[in-house]
Every structure is written in structure tokens, then in C-alpha cells.
Symmetry: D3
Subunit: 114 residues, 6 copies
């Protein structure tokens, strides 16, 4: 399952008020995360990279959180992703994502990801 | 080796005129592409994603090319990367990267990547 | 009137301390929102789209709020704008803007926009 | 019909090699361009704005071209869109889009759009 | 000294857990802020501009703060930087940065920067 | 004089067809490049940085060219700007701008800028 679509606060509203938009969101998630050769975890790591390079705090946090909770992604793996972000998107994006990651890891529920 | 730094037209000039900048570029590449747990190929796929989501044609072409030539990355793998780009960065970025990929694949030298 | 310029916290300071910058801001707003053929409301919807695709939470909230309060823009209209954002800028931007929109709509003053 | 998906060079390849990705592209286009209250032309103008604010030359050209050819969008309308781009995304994006627009309008087939 | 690297919450963790990444961050800062002809203050003003045009609130705040505290950069200088941001990146980026600047200046410790 | 507005191919059309837009462009340029404390050359260097971090090739080339021709900006100064771009926006932006700079410097008319 690729349930990240349910993590967002707005999505339950979209499901109720605009079912066609909800459906395309699920369809989009399912198709994009169903690689022919890369596994879901690798694709999730890629999504974390794109979000860290381009998006707001909330999206980064949501992606990291669902990656660690659903897929058991480890801190070392996310840091290896963020190495590429440092190289390709600059230090402010790297620094922001590092701060978000370590903040998340204060949660005892994620202790196994360290 | 992570030699992508040499693919760019400007870099030989930097090497000659600004050796400190050349050195940091190499150091940055080496450190960022030396993951503790992810292998170089996975990190390269992540770099392709970040570039496809954010950069100009030349950077995307250069990353895909060095990935296919140096690391034997296959078309299917890049398409799986671009699935995540479609989801996280929108259709224009996806469409552009797809066009660049198929243009590159017209080169007979890359036939083994299909 | 295209008074959005007054919604920002920093602008009263600019008006007082840098009157030339304040004047160009007002002039820019006036000229850009005075379409020859598109009406102000359509241009405002376009501004919401560009902000949702590229800007921070505050700018998105401010644009949506002034659009709903000043121009009576409805939720359905903003959602139709965000459909295009989903297509052209990806799901994280869409999701963020949806969350901001529904959060704003909790305000009873905006009940007529639903 | 919202056929812009066929304008891109890479898409015929995607249709043949990755039918699931082709299908989601069409589905995404159809859903996002089927507004409840805004008409297709307004949504297309919004897409031009987002692309002008964020994308590469090719995407901007493609959007403007299909808008003028399929929907009879006029130069004045695109300029009104670009006014908002000037305000919300800065002068370099505005200048680039203006240059692309006037270059396109040299094509006699688009004379009716002036 | 170019100590901004220590301002970020995540960096002490990086120093402890990933010393190679910490080292490259310091090396990158040192090399990039050691201009041959431009002084550090001018380079810092440039960094404020790039961050204001592209980054999140935290990075903008951090850059402005370290610029004012370490280098005695004045409000008028930052406003002159933000003039260029208004021109090259649009009004929402300008407005956001202005709000952050004036918020920072409420701190009595920065009174000398006004 | 801050005549860069005339360098763009689209601008003569805007001057003729949309005089209000032309006027605001000139007004915007004049106001933004008239710093209270920073000189025009420093502001131009900042504009080069923002464009290198965010814009397309044409805008970067245009800014560098007008900076070198109008203001006698030297290669070393632009490289010092691009150091900050490497740090704050990542290596692909840096590499692209370096390639554009050295390509421009092949023009014998710019020999004095080296």
C-alpha cells in the first residue's frame, strides 16, 4: 500500500468534496510508485530528495515520516539522500532537511530508524 | 570514480583559473556520492530526479548520460525515477525529461541501456 | 481597488521608510492587475496558481484570503485553479494549497465562499 | 478534447513503452482540465502562467501554442497572464515569456491571435 | 570567521554523526565565502538575495541575522538587496523577506543595524 | 543609465503594443537598481546571482553581458558571485553559469573583463 495520500490534512476534504480529484491523486500515487525495476523504498527515497530540494517543511516532514514508519527507512539512508541534495540543490536545502530529520528522530517511536 | 565533474564545459577553465573552486567541486562530489548505506547508482538516480525536477536541459542530459555510460543505468530505471518526478514536480518536468531521455537513446552507443 | 499590498506585515514599514519602493509596489500591482481583456478576478486566480506553485504558505494564504474577501472567489473556483497546479507543479504543491484553503474556510466569515 | 499530451516528443514513446504512465498522463490532464466552475480556456491561461513562472522554454512554447491553436486564445489574453507573472515571479520570467510569445506570433498561422 | 554553519539546529548532529559531511560543509563555506575580489560582506549580501529568492523563512532569517550580527550589515543594505529580489524574483519573495527583516529588527540587540 | 530593459528581444514589442507594461518595467528597473547605500555594480552582481540560481540561460547570459559591457564587471567578480551560488543553490546551477561565463569570454570584445 502507498497510503501517503491520507497523511495530508486537506485530503479527507478532497475525498468528500471532489471525488474525481481524490481518485486521480490515488491513481497518480499508485502508478508513480509502481516502478518496473526500482522498488518502492528506492522511489520513496527519491521522493524525499525532490521534496527536500524543492518543497516546504510540511511535505519534507510528511515524506520522511511515512518513509520511516511505513518502510523502515533508516537515518543513514536519508542522510545519503541528503548528500545528493547538498550537491545538487545547495546547502540551505540540505541544512533545512537535516534539521527536520533530527527533529523527527526525537520521537521515541522512530528510535529503530536511527 | 565519480568523474561527472569533468563532463562540464566550464570545469576545465575552473581547474586552471580557480583551483580552490575546482578542488571543492571534486571534494563535494566525492563526499556527496559516498553514501554510507546507499550505493553510488542509487545516489545517481536521486541526482537525476533532483535535476529533472529543478534544472535546465543540459544538467539533466549530463546526469542521464553519465549514469548510463558510467554505471549502466537502464531506461526502465530512469523511467521509474521520472515516475516520482511526475508525482512530485508535475507533468512539464516529467515530459521534458522523457523527451531528453529518448533523444539520448537514439545514440547507438547507448543501445544496451534500453 | 487592488489593495493586497496592504495585507503584508512589512509593507507599512516600507511605506514609511522607503517611499520609492512603496510607490513601485503599488504601481506594479495596479499595472499588472489591470488587464486589457481579462478581468481582475481571473488575474487573481492566476496569481493564486503561481503562488501555490512556487511560494511559501503565507503568500498562498494571503492571496486566497484577499481573493475570497475582496472578490467573492469561491472554493470551487480555487479548487479548479489547484487542479492546474496539480498537473503543472506536482502533488506536494497541490496538497499544501488544499490544506491552506480548507484551514481558511474554517473561518465563519468565509462561509459564503463554500 | 484536451490533447496537449500529444504535443510532446517523448509521449509517443511513453504510450508504446509504458502504457500505464501514458494512461495516468491522459487521466491527469482530463481531470485537471475539467473544472467544475472555470472553463477550459481559463484553466489553460492558468497553466501558461505556472509554466512561465517555473518552467523551461519548451513547456512555455507548447502551452502558448496549444492555447492559441486549440482554444483561440489571443495575444492580449496571454499578455494579461504575463502581467501577473511579472508581479508574482519577477521580470526575467516575464521577459522570457514575452520573447517566446512574440516569436510564436511570427508564424502566419497564428495571425488571428493578434 | 564564517561561522554560519553553526547556526543551524541540525549541524551539531551532523558534526557528531557524519564528520565527513560536516567537514565538506565547512570547506564549502570557507571556499565559497573567500572571494578573490569581492569581500565577505558583499558575498553575504549575495547569499541573502539568493535565499530570499528561493528559500524558506528559516534560511532567510538565519542569513540576515548572521549578516547583521557578524558583519554589521545595515537595514538599508538589506533593503537594497531586496530591491533586486523584487525585480528578479517577484513581489511575494520581496514581501516575505521584508516582513522577516522588520520582525528581526524588533530585537533591541539589532538596534545598531537600523 | 540602467538600460538592460532594452536588451531583450520582446521588449521593443511591449514598448509599442503595451506602453503601460513598458513603463512599469522601466520604473521597476530604475527603482530597484537605485540603492540607497549599495552601488549599481553591487546590485548588478546580486542580480547575476539570483538569475544564476533560478533562471534560464538567456537571462543569465544577458545579465552577465550587460554587467561586463556597461559596468566593466570582471571575470573574477562574477566567479566570486558564483561561489555563493555554488553554496546556496547547488553545483548544477554553478556549473551552468560557469559554462555561460566562459563562453561569453570567448568574445574578443570582452577581453578586458578577464
Amino acid at each position: 500500500m502507498k497510503e501517503e495520500v491520507f497523511f495530508s490534512k486537506g485530503m479527507p476534504h478532497i475525498k468528500k468534496d471532489y471525488p474525481d480529484l481524490y481518485e486521480i491523486s490515488v491513481h497518480l500515487n499508485d502508478t508513480c510508485y509502481t516502478g518496473k525495476v526500482l522498488d518502492y523504498k528506492t522511489q520513496k527515497l527519491i521522493a524525499i530528495a525532490v521534496n527536500a530540494a524543492a518543497s516546504d517543511d510540511r511535505a519534507i516532514r510528511k515524506q520522511m515520516l511515512s518513509g520511516m514508519k511505513e518502510l523502515g527507512i533508516k537515518r543513514d539512508e536519508i542522510i545519503d539522500v541528503l548528500r545528493v541534495v547538498l550537491l545538487t540543490a545547495g546547502k540551505p536545502k540540505f541544512t533545512k532537511a537535516v534539521a527536520i530529520l533530527y527533529k523527527l528522530l526525537e520521537d521515541p517511536d522512530l528510535a529503530s530508524c536511527i
